[in-house]
Symmetry: none
Amino acid sequence: MSINSAEIICVGTELLMGHTLNTNSAFLARELVSLGISSYRQIVVGDNHERLAEQIKESASRADLVILTGGLGPTTDDITMGVAASVAGKELVFDEESFQNMSEYFRRLCRNMPKSNRKQAMLPEGATILKNNNGTAPGAIFEYACPSDQDPDRVVHFVLLPGPPSEMKLMFTEQARPVLEKMSDSKFVTKFVHLFGIGESDAAERISDLIDAQTNPTIAPYAAEGECMFRVTQRIGKDEEEKDLITPIIDVMKERFGQCIYEIGTRPLKQVAYDLLLEKNKTVSFAESCTAGMVSSEFVDIPGASQVFMGSVVSYGNKVKSNLLGVSDDVLDNLGAVSRECAQEMAEGARKLLGTDIAVSITGIAGPTGESAVKPVGLVYLALADEKGTEVKEVHLSGNRSRVRHVAVLHAFNMIRMRLLHE
Amino acid sequence: MSINSAEIICVGTELLMGHTLNTNSAFLARELVSLGISSYRQIVVGDNHERLAEQIKESASRADLVILTGGLGPTTDDITMGVAASVAGKELVFDEESFQNMSEYFRRLCRNMPKSNRKQAMLPEGATILKNNNGTAPGAIFEYACPSDQDPDRVVHFVLLPGPPSEMKLMFTEQARPVLEKMSDSKFVTKFVHLFGIGESDAAERISDLIDAQTNPTIAPYAAEGECMFRVTQRIGKDEEEKDLITPIIDVMKERFGQCIYEIGTRPLKQVAYDLLLEKNKTVSFAESCTAGMVSSEFVDIPGASQVFMGSVVSYGNKVKSNLLGVSDDVLDNLGAVSRECAQEMAEGARKLLGTDIAVSITGIAGPTGESAVKPVGLVYLALADEKGTEVKEVHLSGNRSRVRHVAVLHAFNMIRMRLLHE
């Protein structure tokens, strides 16, 4: 049995009223693309029994696969499991294992499980249960016999996932996706080429000949804040030979982009920096002003960060810059906290104070206030100090406060990467 | 003629493939709520003639108002205007004024207008044209005679808006909204009650009598990571008196939830903490271990943070804890970095080192590694030190590394709030 088409239904009044941005649809849509399943519609409906049932039937009449997210919670508002099961003609039955998992979840939190949570263990008979490793509501995969004129044996698959993105993504990736992979018709091989230090339109222009000529593999550019990425995807039919068409494309990209390419794969920039630190056996610390802990915090997202990362000083006020990091009053008074010299002294001070091989500092004007005629919003200085000396970089970043800070963080990681590449 | 119900259709393959996050639906949904128009469905479809026409007809059969965004561009992919017009049985006619506006737009950019843009001036006969002040594609409002069994004179309104959010939002706000306001029947008043320190199901259970009895206002619970929220919405008909039905509900919630309620309004927890610090004229610093700068970085998201925030120490390695913050070797060796005592010494050390009125420390096990039999993943100690002494809090958080760290950050802000509330 193969799945060719899908519809995604997100259930929730909070989505319908616009209080919550729907990020689940986009995530699932990308996953479906990578599975070679075409998705033709995404729908948001509220927690209304009649409309939800109608929508599920409608989607099931058109698509082989209907993915539903949301409405699996413990309250009376949460009706998705019940409605989908009733459309499919299945009873809800008590699932002891799911109930035990929930009890365990509450025990870990040292909290009593409210009675209402028992409802979440009522699941469709015969369903494949998807365990929730990030919350209480289990998900489910089950079939709906939905005959059509062409196919009296037609079966539609329902996949029910919880609404909170952190629960939904983990459950989909770990448990639902493997089931869907087995049902897919053709397969896709995808490589991601990640670049830093070049804009999306510039990058696309540099390989416009490849993009214009694409058939298989396809090449699609994506812009993310401060960086850009190309997805190169080759489609392989079920009975086709697996010839690698991707490597030749990537070789041309390497030639054109050089060291702007920081990764062919899925590692984010910080992971590339981390892996280089680990490989070269170096420790690192940060001195952060405008980013105020964001570099350190993002770096520590990497499990095992403690192997190379010792700590940081968030020197937001000037007193912290001088007292802790030893930035001289002369620099602060005459050149200011956002200056080449301040960045240098911050990095050198942090390296000494925290006793690491490398220290990176960031000081800049994130906006919306604080700018002057000579120091506009977006001006950021970064410095990297190590045993060989200190290198300072001046960058001009566009966008609002949050973007300036975010892109400054990427520059800090990229400085580590560039320094260690040349070791 | 009054409009009671709406559906929102967003057109675009980039949405369907998950390359672009759909922010238009959420924006329009909120606008509809504020206009007293119920929206029952949001749909995403691709640039496919047949499926789009089918979707428009389907939505028009159910709703008085169908808002479409996207697919108004100059390329052959952009089919929304033509398809919607053909569903409504209207010809596209050349609109001289729109054409002039587009020419003007290109002149301002010092660029020649491509021939293909002429297509964007082809608009449904008799439509109200919506000028695009942020791009080239004009929008349109027009009627579709769509008789039903109950109402042979039934008319559905189509509103067509461009896809790029900056163009769509401006056009909706300046031009489409005033038209809809005139047609709307009732309006809604909404208040948000934010809670910290209680789970969604617990919270819902505590006011289940209110939730069960709701008619007007309606009460809906929402869960966010580590916190929860209730939306209380009152509907006021056009000719009804504006009697406040929300305050009595909120008074009951205040009674039941007490200090778990941190905000009635829209301020996030960190803003509440910041406002209290500012009001009490206190400065703050942080000593962060497992959160590694996340508390500081999130706090600095608040513009004006520098008025109360001086800086922080990210003490990830034990050496930084002892050397900078003065955590004793005795504590680190015998009780460990994740202990009540370590949290206390971190906070006291940071307060002294950074010279602030208040210092908050966080140390815990974010996972996935680092746990032991007595110290499970999710165990976090926080301490708050001020002139009156030091208070330590032990919490057990569930979820993955990212969730544990995120919720620990909220606890840090909440500790500041609770301390200053009792000043």
